[in-house]
């Protein structure tokens, strides 16, 4: 690819006592790229992000942002980073406006017009005390503070978990704008449609390990295609072919999934029966996700799921 790498984490390991939360996490985010970070609850997304922010110290492995060490040069790095957590806790007796100003000031920037514009767009009342804000409004405070600062890398940990659909769209616009001006984004989220729309590349983490990462195209390539086929003559032995999954008979038609490497064989097979209708759809991120997660439900109980 040869693009400038902004964030690089290799083989991150983090233990809490005897529990291993991260077990060799690798992430790379390039300049001008939105990287989606997905995985089931308790997989280690927030832990990874905290390590990247220098809030937790990795037991081993290396995390570099802008070529600097995430732990040792945290303060330097943070001048060019904006972070939004999923659970925003603010000071109950400060107003939203005060908190936004404080955060902008602490990062070192000062962009008044951007601040006002964002407050307008997110429809936030900055004179209210934080204790009276709803969850979504607290999140808006953090988002306004983040996007009002001229950061080069945005680290967003489930930033939209409390936003309404309208606000969610404004958030997506903000991410797009950041991307268009060459900023990079690390976005952890459970809203897969959002990840699909925004992200150039995606990493999937499970039980503290990265199990997949690459562009959506690459990931899809590794997996299955959804097919819907109607033929003149009935396809009797479709189910017995290698690479066919989730076969459902719908009247005369079939819908099923095909492993990418067997696609050629299958197409040759069905063409013998006189195809009258053929629809193919790339797997959604959700399909990808489900496939990776389903295999885990057995082991998840013993490992990173639930409580340590």
């Amino acid at each position: 690819m040869g693009r400038l790498s902004i964030l690089q984490a290799s083989n991150l390991v983090k233990r809490f006592g005897r529990f291993t939360a991260l077990n060799g996490v690798n992430i790379e985010v390039n300049k001008g790229e939105v990287f989606g970070f997905i995985g089931p609850n308790g997989a280690g997304k927030s832990t990874t992000i905290r390590v990247l922010l220098g809030i937790l110290k990795a037991d081993s492995g290396e995390a570099k942002i802008f070529g600097k060490d995430a732990w040792k040069d945290a303060v330097d790095i943070h001048k060019r980073i904006a972070y939004v957590p999923g659970d925003v806790n603010l000071w109950p007796n400060l107003t939203g406006g005060e908190v936004i100003d404080l955060f902008i000031k602490l990062r070192g920037g000062n962009n008044k017009s951007k601040r006002e514009e964002l407050i307008q767009r997110f429809d936030l009342d900055p004179t209210k005390k934080c204790r009276t804000y709803s969850k979504g409004n607290r999140q808006k405070v953090a988002l306004v503070a983040a996007f009002a600062s001229e950061a080069d890398l945005y680290i967003l940990d489930e930033p939209t978990s409390g936003l309404d659909p309208l606000m969610e769209r404004i958030f997506q616009e903000c991410v797009q704008e950041a991307k268009n001006t060459g900023k990079s984004v690390l976005l952890s989220s459970h809203v897969l449609s959002e990840v699909e729309r925004l992200c150039d590349r995606v990493g999937i983490i499970r039980e503290g390990k990265m199990i997949e990462s690459g562009s959506l195209g690459e990931l899809r390539h590794l997996t299955r295609t959804n097919l819907y086929v109607e033929t003149i003559r009935p396809m009797d032995s479709l189910a017995s072919l290698q690479g066919v999954h989730e076969l459902v008979k719908e009247g005369e038609a079939f819908s099923f999934q095909v492993d990418s490497e067997h696609l050629d064989n299958i197409i040759q097979y069905i063409s013998q029966f006189g195809v009258t209708k053929l629809e193919s759809a790339p797997p959604t991120l959700e399909d990808l996700f489900m496939r990776h997660y389903e295999g885990t439900s057995k082991s998840a109980n013993s490992g990173a799921g639930g409580r340590p």
């Binding site: 937790l56 945290a74 925003v88 936004i100 100003d101 404080l102 602490l106 990062r107 900055p126 209210k128």
Partner: protein, 534 residues
């Protein structure tokens, strides 16, 4: 109707007991143990009746009355009378603090953190959490009353009979129940747990001051203080039960009021108004230092006012003290082992030790706020900006240092200002101010331990509070019971030269400061190296 309000109260009460299965026993055991140990110690210390009577005479002055409360049975100063006079008030204050902290923890703190909301969403009554908390607290205080009463009686000290011992325990228990009820009420009025603790602690201090001024100047005034009622039971002397009954009746009124307010208010809301705020941050609030001051401003200012009033209250009785001693010259000679120093001056040393320890409370609170912020995940948010951990911990340290200086200064200024108009020969300001500020190294030492804990063992910060309570008892009781020297050497406050009576001791002060500095450095390094927890 009943279900609507009280469903599942029993289960919630059991749940509270489970959550506090260590906390409550520690409070109970400490309070009962200290009571019994002191009672036993009195009999060893003062073996003869003449000794007892001599002590009674020394206690017979306005300053002592202001501090420990009106004494009864001073003409026949039995061990029992001595207990009730010297220990009852201070133990009652400890019990009150226990109730305040426990009730706040299960009311406003839980509400603030959203736990009450979870419980309310279950088939539990609207008042169930509050009534469960009160049931637990009332039971705790009843147990305390019984244990203390039975314990004191079983020591087999002649003047400590069944009725008196039970009354002693009941006085403590009733104080606990009263302050539990008061906290429950304030938890409805205030919107935050800090506000609740602030209001009730303020109430406790006010009760102490009203009683102090009332006991010295005007008996009727004392009747406006619940701590005054405690002493009016005249335990081991006349054994009046009615002040305790009165206290319980008032407690019931407070409980009903708190239940009523809780039933009519919204979850998360209070009754004290909160106004809309600024749209922009002031220039003050644009650094970690500004932030750490801003979020504690109210608490710190209240403490500052409190320390000044405390100093002034003590200062205002100095005139009577002076007059009292000049009346009885013989006694002055008898009680002044130190040549050239008046009893008033000696009394200053004791006051300063106590005021400096009280002044350490806001200092530690100011610094440990750093830990509280971390627990609420806000430190994480701050550190994701261009803020170094050294700068963050440094900001809290600066606040702590300034707080320490201001608290001691205000107490000394209050003391001096109130004493000047009432004394014939006022003590020089420099004497009083020096006697106060000389305690700063001890305050720093306590701060140093707190820094060390936050940096290296953040889950054990409660140790510093236990140590402060320990120091308080060693210094307060040490003077009373003539503890061996090594015990008072276990607290930094024991190493401070008691100006103006003792000589200045630069070596001790320097050593304390150096140790404090070392601990601060180690703590700060530890803070830089460890994980920030959420």
């Amino acid at each position: 109707m009943f279900e609507q309000y009280f469903m599942k109260t029993g289960s919630l009460a059991r749940f509270i007991l489970r959550r506090d299965r260590i906390r409550i026993p520690i409070w109970l055991i400490s309070i009962v143990a200290i009571t019994l140990v002191v009672a036993e110690a009195f009999t060893n210390l003062y073996a003869s009746e003449t000794e007892l009577q001599a002590i009674a005479e020394t206690m017979l002055n306005p300053a002592m009355t202001a501090m420990v409360g009106q004494g009864y049975g001073l003409d026949n100063y039995t061990y029992g009378a001595m207990m009730a006079h010297q220990m009852l008030l201070f133990t009652a204050i400890a019990v009150a603090i226990m109730s305040i902290l426990l009730v706040t923890r299960h009311t406003r703190t839980d509400e603030e953190d959203g736990r009450i909301e979870m419980i309310r969403s279950l088939p539990a009554g609207r008042l169930s959490s509050l009534s469960a908390t009160l049931i637990v607290l009332i039971s705790t205080n009843v147990v305390l009353a019984i244990f203390t009463g039975v314990g004191l009686y079983s020591l087999g000290i002649e003047s400590m009979d069944w009725e008196g011992s039970l009354l002693y325990g009941s006085a403590l228990g009733a104080t606990g129940i009263f302050f539990a009820a008061l906290t429950a009420l304030f938890a409805q009025l205030s919107e935050s747990s800090r506000g609740t603790i602030g209001l009730t602690m303020g109430g406790l201090i006010l009760a102490y001051l009203i009683r102090a001024i009332g006991d010295v100047t005007n008996e009727t005034l004392t009747w406006f203080s619940p701590l005054g009622w405690v002493l009016r039971s005249e335990v081991y002397v006349n054994n009046y039960w009615w002040p305790i009954t009165f206290m319980l009746v008032i407690s019931i009124v407070l409980i009903v009021a708190s239940l009523y307010l809780s039933a009519i208010r919204d979850l998360g809301a209070g009754f004290l108004p909160s106004k809309p705020g600024r749209k922009h941050a002031s220039p003050m609030l644009q650094s970690p230092l500004g932030l750490s001051y801003r979020i504690q401003r109210t608490a710190l200012l209240s403490w500052a006012v409190g320390m000044f009033i405390l100093g002034a209250s003590y200062g205002s009785v100095f005139g009577d003290l002076d007059a009292f001693f000049s009346d009885i010259e013989i006694m002055e000679q008898m009680l002044t082992p130190m040549e050239g120093f008046s009893l008033t001056e000696q009394f200053i040393t004791m006051l300063m030790a106590i005021m400096s320890m009280l002044g350490t409370v806001p200092v530690l609170m100011a610094f440990l706020k750093l830990k509280g912020e971390e627990k609420k995940n806000r430190t994480e948010l701050l550190l994701s900006h261009a803020v170094s951990r050294t700068k963050l911990i440094g900001s809290y340290l600066i606040i702590a240092f300034i707080t320490g200086f201001v608290m001691l200064s205000l107490a000394a200024i209050g003391l001096w200002a109130a004493s000047v108009p009432v004394m014939d020969e006022p003590i020089a300001f420099s004497t009083i101010y020096g006697a106060a500020l000389v305690y700063l190294p001890a305050v720093w030492m306590m701060t140093g331990i707190a820094v060390l804990l936050v940096g290296v063992a953040p889950n054990f910060t409660v140790i510093i509070w236990l140590y402060l309570v320990f120091s308080y008892f060693v210094v307060y009781l040490g003077g009373l019971l003539q503890f061996p020297l090594w015990l008072s050497n276990l607290t930094p406050f024991g190493y401070i030269p008691q100006l103006p009576v003792e000589e200045m001791n630069i070596t001790n002060l320097t050593l304390l400061t150096l140790i404090a500095a070392t601990m601060i450095v180690i703590g700060a390094i530890g803070y830089n190296k460890r994980d920030i927890e959420g």
